[in-house]
Amino acid sequence: MSKTLIYIEHAHGKMQKASAVAVAAAKAAGGDLTAVVLGKGVDTVAAEAATLGVAKVVLVDDPRLEHYLADIAAQAVAQVAKAEGATTIIAAATAIGKDFFPRVAQLLEAGMASDVTSIGTDGTIERPTYAGNVVSRVQIATPIRVITVRGTAYPPVAPGGAAAPVEKVALAADAKSKMRFVEFAETKSDRPQLTDAKIVVSGGRGLKSGENFTVVLEPLVDALGAAMGASRAAVDAGFVPNDLQVGQTGKVVAPQLYIAVGISGAIQHLAGMKDSKVIVAINKDGDAPIFNISDYGLVADLFKAVPEMTEEVKKLKAS
């Protein structure tokens, strides 16, 4: 049977949910599954990965992997892929997956498909292109395939299955990075992660200021227990941090409920949210394109509608 290696990403000692989606994609494609975890002191991540229904977890624990750096991470994954004889190597299409998986592909002389939404058992891969205006069906023509999977492509595999063995592997002595980690300025938030949340409330240029995000939008976000997102226009204007951008060139989300507030619905924004189960749009312009794809559209001034909605939601939750 063909062998698939799945890269498991982690932050703060916990596996990222997107990696459980990558495991689901690997299962759909078929083959023997092995997971690989890189880092320093990350046994708990390996233990969690072991419960995802894989046959084995390879743990590469090394001080050189303390901070993620693209070049040495790629060397480590390629090393394990070769040792395991893996012919398909999969990661989540997160910032990290996008950053270093092409390097893995190069080291393995493999063809690569990025940000895929489906992997068929016959090897056909689907991926959106042209900001989601097009679905491309491709086949990787090389003996080894490298793939990153979009976080919304499959329901994540739930951890908690029988634990597979964890095998510790030493990083090659000559593996080294030419890069230096300087710092990570984390955007702190108590809200759910944008890409994991059941409900996402996103604001656009219509909010007009960062302060309005805080005083108008955030109460609704919190009343719904939602994650907050934004359009590029809102991010570019400095209303909210970069990593809240939803769209072609930001994050792709597909929550149960997506509420777009003061967002016109440019194709680049739709590319990041149009697979949400239910879409609500609040916009004062009845002709805004966002209404073409929304299940419930409210033509209203957001500065009136959003506080009202917050009150209604609170009332409902209290009853």
Binding site: A70, A95, Q106, Y130, A131, V135, S136, T249
Partner: protein
């Protein structure tokens, strides 16, 4: 320092994209083509680096049909010094494009290759990283801030990543790919456009580079995405919240 800036010709992001009925490509009649927005940002940053240093060279590269001359001329008008067009019959996949760029790096020996993070046609987000691996060079993708060291031998780059901003540093040569918020690209000025006409634009047939056009990833077919039904309007906030509660059962 010398900076190589690969720029790709892509459909204007504002145009509507339609799939040809036979599923082999997109409809290109009446479609305006532009420099990929991320490449424009990479070019702008490269020009700023050159201007800040008061010396150096910014060399553009495009890989594609003869029509890419148009985008290269625009880039020259923005201020790049010269351009190389590697002429191909059809599009190359990122792996082959990166191989072509690796050949040019060997010839040109730039200190830095500054690419876009992603081409907005194939949305691949691969070429810069592939090139970095081919050359065994360090990389900083998704750059939102670039600071060249005083000795011009190193660079510190702030990157837009999940959960915040990461900063990495490395010694040159290296690869950087631009994100949206790195800068606001300039427009070509009229004198810039005049000057661009006299700047060198060298054409190199793909065959001369020795790189195969055979894709590593084969396109089987392209299709339009499934259409989403929408358009229903509600009158009031109460109605909206009510429907989300009783019909959609989401709150």
């Amino acid at each position: 320092m010398k900076i190589l800036v690969p720029i790709k010709r892509v459909p204007d992001p504002q145009t509507n994209i339609a799939v040809r009925p036979d599923g082999t490509g997109i409809v290109t009649d009446n479609v305006k083509f532009v420099i990929n927005p991320f490449c424009e940002i990479a070019l702008e940053e490269s020009l700023r680096i050159k201007e800040a240093q008061g010396e150096g060279e910014v060399v553009l590269v495009s890989i594609g049909g003869k029509e890419c001359q148009e985008q290269l001329r625009t880039g020259l008008a923005m201020g790049a010094d010269r351009a190389i067009l590697v002429v191909t019959d059809g599009p190359l996949d990122p792996a082959r494009a990166a191989e072509v760029l690796a050949k040019l790096v060997a010839q040109e020996s730039p200190n830095l290759v500054f690419l876009g993070k992603q081409a907005i046609d194939d949305d691949a987000n691969q070429t810069g990283q592939l090139l970095a691996a081919m050359l065994d060079w360090p990389q900083a993708t998704f750059a939102s801030k670039v600071v060249i060291g005083d000795d011009k031998k190193s660079v510190t780059v702030t990157r837009e990543v999940d959960g915040g901003l990461e900063t990495v540093a490395f010694d040159l040569p290296g690869i950087i790919t631009s994100d949206l918020r790195l800068n606001e690209p300039r427009y070509a000025s009229l004198p810039g456009i005049m000057k661009a006409r006299k700047k060198e634009l060298k054409e190199v047939p793909l065959a001369e580079t020795g790189v195969s056009a055979e894709p590593k990833v084969k396109q089987v077919k392209i299709e339009p995405p499934p259409k989403r039904q929408g358009g229903r309007k509600v009158e009031t906030v109460q109605e909206l919240v009510n429907l989300l509660h009783t019909e959609a059962k989401l709150i």
